[in-house]
Structure formats: structure tokens, C-alpha cells
Amino acid sequence: MANLGSTLKQRMKALREPFAQLPSTAQYYPTLCSPSRETVSLRFRSKETPEHFINFASSNYLNLNARPEVKSAYLEAFDKYGSGSNGSPVLSGFYEPHADLERALTDLHETEDTALFSSGYTANLSVLSACLGPDDLFLFDERIHGSLIDGAKLAQTRMRSFAHNNPNDLRQLLERLRSTAGTVIVGTLGVFSMSGELPPLPEIVRAAREHDALVLLDEAHAVGVLGKRARGTLEHFDMPASAVDICVGTLSKTFAGIGGYVSGSRELTEHLRFGARPHILSAAIPPTAAAGCAAAVKLLAREGATLGAELRRKAELFRNELRCGQLELLGEGTGVAAFNVPDAHALWNATQYLLDRGVFLNPVIYPAVRKHEGRMRYYINVDHSDEQLKSAAALTLEAVRKFEISTLQARKEAPLRAGAARQSEAYE
């Protein structure tokens, strides 16, 4: 007779391999007991009572869900529409707030139209599985988000990675492989959330266009952070919305709700609404979340310039404090600060040192990054005080010294391929 327990035990060994290198999983899966903003109260599994922390583990970059107009939007939508959507958007789950949110996002990104999805993950699964097939090709930065790789797998399309942030490697692959495929989509991220790096977007778009390839840009960690109005990486590079074909975003970071979206041409969004199985087979996000996110999007449209500039100032202050301690960081100019700690025990110990002193962050290991690329990663919040940032940076430097995280370990991540090494020299 089949036994679920023994089946799971067999699979668990392989699936939990990344966590097995850590002394325990006690730093993961905490229970939050407050909003997750610049500070947070939470209870770890090994503890009985909640503790209060300065929070570096939340992508709620701008605290838009603390604003009265966002709160009222949630409450009013609950009174008018109830809690859940109770249906796929295609059938019966698409309410007035969903339509309002689509319009607000379309205005924000200055595109023709926007389609909503139940999560950012579902948005990426949807867009690739609906746009590519076995004879097509997905070319992607080797450090792209796993949801896009899963989308390519669902599409059963050919997939090939190019060296990280290396348009020359992309160009060489396009020259060699373009003629073997029908549709080619080139994918990259607006901000690499595990390193805080930006892509060389103009060069990547140019390489794609030279070879008749479409471009997908995932702006999940860029919206609310980059650009003169904080509308994302396209704005940061002063590129129009039409520079890319598919703009993917999320509602669970800067907009502090739940859901994902794809913004672009009406032809694309209508294709996804009726052709993407992950979309059709999922319930829509709750109307309360749609209303709250629409209010947050409108807030960003009005105040993005001020909020984005303040967030970037604080992120730079934090990065400078770490750099003054001779720590070499991976990225620049975004809302993320990160450095490599390849030794899993050192990573766990340094994180615990900070947790014990009231600083909350997550130790990042595979599969969030590639194997042996553990890192300490900090999300900066617009309401972190300068004192909080300086104090957390000082504690981080103490932990780095105490656990002998060497300069070598903390240095920029090693390129995965030789092409990347050549390119990083060219770009530095």
C-alpha cells in the first residue's frame, strides 16, 4: 500500500539538501506578529514569545500599506465586495477594483494594457508558457528568477542562459542559435534581488533587436525604487515602455499586496487573458487586495519621485557604511545590499549574531542563489532611520570579523562562465 510518509522521506533527502548544510532551519519560517515594515515583531519556531527587530527582510520598500488611503481602500472594498474573488478572472473573479488596478498599472508603465495574475510567479509561468513552444527559444541571464525558468519548462521550449549581465555573450548565442528557433525571447531582471545589481539593459535590448528577438523585463524589485519617478529600470535608463515587449511586475513588493502583472501591448495581454493556463486555472486576487494595490499604485504615481530618491539615499548610506569596513558589495544603486558568504556555517553564524542583536535578515542559500553562493542580503526600507542603518551596518561588520568571513569570501561573486569574466572586466 502506498505510504505518503515514506514517499516524502525519500524525496525530502534530496529536496532538503541545501538546508542540511546549515546547523538548523531555526532561522527560517518565523511567524510575523506585526506589519513587516522598517521594524517587525516575529516569533521564531524555537522561541515561545515574539521579539522586535529592525527589519531587513521585507521588500515592502516604501511602506505604502501604512498610508491611510491604502488602508481605506482595503476596508471599503471589503464592505462592497467581500473577502475573496471566488473565481478565475475569465469566469467570475474579475471585479471593479481589478479593472481599476489594471488601468492604474497601465498608466504607471505607460503601456497599452496590463493583465493581472494571482502572483508574480504565475505571471512568469503564464507569459512564457503562452508565448513559447518546443521550436522556440528562451535566452536568459544565468541569474534570472527561478519562476522564469519554471515558465520555460512549462512551455517545453528550448532554453539557454547567457553569462550574467553580458550582452556580448548574449549576442554570440543569438548569432549561433537564432536561425534554429522560431520565436526567441530574451529575458532579464530590472534588479537582481539577490545581489542588488542592475542589468546593462540598453545593450541587452540592442543585441536582441539586432537578431529579431523579443525582450522580457521583470521589474519586480525595480518599481518603487529606480528611475526619476521610481517607475523602474526602463525609466532609470530613460528608455520608453516600447523598448521591451513584455514587462512583468509584482504587487507583493512595493505595492505590499498580492498578485503579479504583465504590461505591454493589448495583443499580448488579451493573448494571456485567454491563452495562459496558469492564469485561467487560478482564482483572481481578492478584490480587497486589488483595491488596496490600486491605491498604492496611484500613490506611487503621485509621490514616486520623492519616495524613490529617499529610498535610494538610504540604501547608499547603508552600502557606504559597509564599504567603509572594507566589505565588497555585489550591486549598486538599488534598494538591495548584498555580499557573498560561500561558507554556509559562517553565513548561519553571522545571521544569528545579528538576530541576537535585534537585526532581522534572511540567510540566502540555494535554490534562491546557485549552489555555494550563500549570501547576506538586506532590503532597505524608506522609513529606516539613518541611526538604524548605521547600527545594523556596524553589527554586520562585527559579525564579518568575528566569523572570519574573509575578504575573498565577501568579494564579488565568481562568474559562472569564462565569458562572464571577460565581460566583467569590460564593464568595471
Binding site: 518546443p134 525558468i149 520555460a152 528550448r158 532554453m159 539557454r160 542562459s161 549561433r176 562562465r417 569564462a418
Partner: protein, 90 residues
């Protein structure tokens, strides 16, 4: 294209994808995952390169069974025979 040429081409693809792997480890019977340390992304890249080079359809899953260069050559030979494409192996 004879078997030796096919093996050389496959080795060249593997060297490009697994540049960290020592050259002496690229033997015909080295297992892609256990001996060469390939992860799922490497396997997906390898499948695409093999497909485009030999004009065949594979899946990343198939490399878990045909998990060495020798076994992969057998798979490609079988595929070429099944499709009556003698050109791949001359």
C-alpha cells in the same frame, strides 16, 4: 559524421557549459551530474546546444537516463536511425 566526431562535438559543448570542470574529468563514461557537477541549468543549456547542433529533440529529463557521453551518443544514434537521418553519423 562518425562517432568520434560526435563525441568530440559533445565534449566541446560540455567544456563550454562546464568550464569549472577539470578537463581530465570529461571522459566518455563520466556522469553529467555526479562526476561533472552539472545542475539543472547546465543540463537545460546542454540539451539546447545538443538539439541545435544535431537537429534533434531531447528533454532535460532524458539526460538523467542517458547520463554520460557514451549513453548520449547511443541515444543520438538511435534517434538518427529512427528518423532515417544518416547524415548525423555518416
Amino acid at each position: 559524421m562518425n562517432r568520434e566526431t560526435v563525441v568530440d562535438r559533445l565534449k566541446s559543448i560540455l567544456r563550454d557549459i562546464r568550464q569549472q570542470a577539470p578537463h581530465h574529468s570529461l571522459t566518455p563514461d563520466a556522469e553529467f551530474i555526479d562526476a561533472l557537477g552539472m545542475d539543472s541549468l547546465d543540463l537545460a543549456n546542454f540539451v539546447t546546444e545538443v538539439e541545435c547542433t544535431f537537429r534533434v529533440h531531447l528533454s532535460a529529463e532524458s539526460l538523467r537516463t542517458f547520463n554520460t557521453l557514451n549513453k548520449l551518443v547511443e541515444l543520438l544514434e538511435g534517434d538518427a536511425l529512427a528518423r532515417h537521418v544518416p547524415s548525423a553519423f555518416g
